[in-house]
Symmetry: C2
Subunit: 298 residues, 2 copies
């Protein structure tokens, strides 16, 4: 059997990205649209998909593999969760066909700590792709975003992970709390203020206290308004790092948008850690790895 | 000189409460209004005051002492901050006259940790009142609210304090984050779910992670919707207690609305601490103590 092209789709909550990959996983074309699952009415997924990808799907033998929130209860088809520990084989084993022989969807991952479940949808594919691209089979894979994921990988398997609402806390605090009165989230990242926030988070007094510092520093004119958002970002990301006890010897892979991975890299450098960073290529490599039979033995 | 009555006013951000006290500090009448400083236009404070309190102020020799955000930049008159350590004498020394011989306003308190300022306005009067009512001169005085204050008192002096945005985090998370989709903040306190949240906060993974549990417990039907708000409240208050390392031997005084002090009392009982609780009476006792010359020697 000759392998055709793969239409790789990352269908998230608020946006959708697609890439046309050749049999070796090379990206031939890319597209992205503000058509996240929240913008699609129930029953409307097939139509949206055909509108966006009919051209790419036309050649005989072309297949599509989707990851992300399209596999959630509010998505196209509810795909299962694959419990940790899980690697390429386990995730591939739970890929669900939406249209047999044509369109499939990847499962999410689940974990549990003290009876409290944790979940991801889409990030597992990025981790699989990052493992393929970096050839790392052990390390800490960090995926910044609205709901950040910290996944521990051992011998090519995700042994467990935790979600941190860091991105969402930043959004609600800077838009809806008293901090909104003085913060300017449109200001560019101020590295010094960001690192000052990271350092502040190490005082052991917790986020509930340290976030208030972004208010009082403004109140007493101790920090210019344009630096406050960076300071709050440092407080939040520093708090996240603190709980994960990352030090210089841990192999860390950051996967996500450069504007976010840059901040984590700065904070990690402050503790002597040289993290690697990956972007969208991790998603495409992960979908290619899940699809490609050449990986079926790994 | 015979002392007349005191009109004691706690003028906060969103509401205003007043009490008419006799020379011994007994409450003769009380009133409260939704006329916090945010509802008063610049220059409009005198008129609002006279409308609400002219009757109480009529008898010759009646004086008024105000505490709270009316002393902030956005308030009636900007009153100073009294730096910690500060007790009754220090706070009284910074009382500012608005109308000499008739209306005065109490200062706030300020503290600083690692160059980050902290402030309170109004709570210092409640702490002074609580010391007078309980005769305690050492302990931890906790004032739950939108911005909770934890004040350490030694030998009748507030030696330092920290603010925690616990109440505001609860509000923005339950109204504006993904948790809003499943939380029902109108449900009554569920003590078991609340204490489950308190326990969960002790796992050392931090608020950014533990708050997400309120989402996944709902997603997996592990906790009924009516219990989720109590669980989140427990996560937040537990986090606050964790950073303060409160144990059974510390003398804790909770000052605030019963609906809030009840939660802190529950969480403190879980670590073996029997906290005392006080309500509005602490404010009136504090304003009376600041006003009364019988205390001027203390």
């Amino acid at each position: 059997m000759t392998l055709g092209h793969l239409v790789a789709v990352d269908w998230g909550t608020s946006s959708l990205r697609g890439a046309l990959l050749d049999a070796d996983g090379r990206v031939l074309e890319e597209q992205s649209h503000p058509r996240g699952i929240l913008s699609v009415k129930p029953g409307g997924f097939t139509a949206v998909f055909e509108t966006l990808f009919a051209d790419w799907m036309r050649p005989h033998g072309t297949r599509c593999l989707i990851s992300g929130m399209a596999g959630s209860k509010q998505g196209w088809v509810e795909a299962p969760y694959c419990p940790c520990p899980a690697g390429l084989a386990e995730v591939r084993g739970k890929v669900l066909e939406i249209e047999p022989g044509r369109i499939s969807i990847a499962p999410g991952l689940s974990d549990s700590h003290d009876g409290v479940p944790d979940v991801m949808r889409g990030e597992e594919v990025q981790i699989i792709g990052a493992m393929a691209l970096t050839r790392l089979r052990d390390g800490l894979f960090v995926l910044p975003g609205t709901h950040n994921k910290w996944a521990r990988v051992k011998n090519g398997m995700v042994t467990g992970f935790r979600t941190f609402m860091t991105g969402e806390f930043y959004a609600v605090l800077s838009q809806h709390s008293i901090l909104a009165r003085t913060l300017d989230t449109s200001a560019p990242l101020d590295e010094a203020a960001f690192l000052q926030g990271v350092t502040q988070s190490e005082n052991g007094q917790g986020l509930l206290h340290n976030a208030f510092g972004a208010r009082t520093l403004a109140l007493f004119d101790r920090m210019p308004a344009r630096e406050l958002a960076s300071y709050l970002s440092g407080i939040l990301i520093g708090e996240e790092l603190r709980t994960q006890s990352v030090h210089s010897a841990v192999e860390v892979v950051l996967i996500g948008a450069p504007a976010l991975t840059q901040r984590y890299q700065l904070a990690l450098q402050a503790v002597g850690n040289q993290a690697r960073t990956l972007g969208a290529e991790a998603t495409w490599a992960g979908l290619h790895a899940l699809h490609s039979p050449s990986h079926r033995q790994s």
